[in-house]
């Protein structure tokens, strides 16, 4: 796949996007936290999940179907209740992607997708119970 350098998203843009409430934060970043989802680049699938109260806490995210079309996440009752998800079509699913500092292919965390209800604007990171899933699945070339 092609690669290109994208400039970091403007922090000012966070004012114009909805605030997402993560009552439990994320594992390793305990909550409650407020995040914003900023598009990265005008086209392309990338977004950045930015902590509105701590600019250093930001994660590159992408809908899992972009790289993993067969990926399915089974969300448990606790997660559904945590974000007030009533209709599956309200669920925005994203996976966190990281690229090693020295360059090289990126990996996606398929074990812990981020689920956001577009209706309640609450989000949480799931811990899926499929033991075949990895926190570091290489992005397909």
């Amino acid at each position: 796949m092609s690669v290109r350098t994208l400039p970091a998203p403007e922090p000012r843009a966070a004012r114009d996007v909805p605030e997402l409430a993560f009552p439990l934060g994320l594992p390793g970043f305990p909550g409650p936290r407020r995040f914003a989802l900023l598009r990265w680049g005008s086209d392309g699938p990338w977004s950045v999940l930015v902590d509105l109260d701590d600019a250093d806490v930001r994660f590159l995210v992408v809908p899992p179907g972009v790289f993993f079309p067969d990926y399915q996440a089974v969300l448990d009752d606790a997660l559904v209740a945590a974000i007030g998800l009533e209709d599956p079509s309200d669920c925005l699913l994203l996976v966190i992607v990281s690229f090693p500092a020295g360059g090289g292919p990126g990996t996606a965390n398929l074990l812990g997708p981020v689920a956001i209800s577009t209706r309640t604007l609450r989000g949480v990171q799931a811990v899926l119970s499929d033991t075949r899933l990895s926190t570091r699945t290489p992005l397909p070339a």
Partner: protein, 82 residues
């Protein structure tokens, strides 16, 4: 850490309505049943620990990034320099 000893079919109650029951003991494996309110997350500790470590290492460094543009999965693609 509170340390309790339980036999099969005995339970522990935690807080307000969380019940942990020993369902089966087979060799060095213990099957536990957890009854908890719907909004209380229950996870295997090592999975949560893996997620914490993954999140901490996934935090984006400041500045620009070189990101791949996915192509439709039709035929081979060539890698181009950024």
């Amino acid at each position: 850490m509170l340390v309790l000893t339980r036999r099969k079919n005995e339970s522990i109650v935690i807080g307000d309505g969380i019940v942990v029951t020993v369902l089966e003991v087979k060799g060095d494996q213990i099957r536990l049943g957890i009854a908890a309110p719907r909004d209380v997350p229950v996870h295997r500790e090592e999975l949560l620990a893996a997620l914490e470590a993954a999140n901490r290492s996934a935090v984006m460094p400041a500045g620009d990034a070189v990101l791949p543009t996915p192509r439709p999965a039709a035929g081979r693609t060539r890698r181009r320099a950024a």
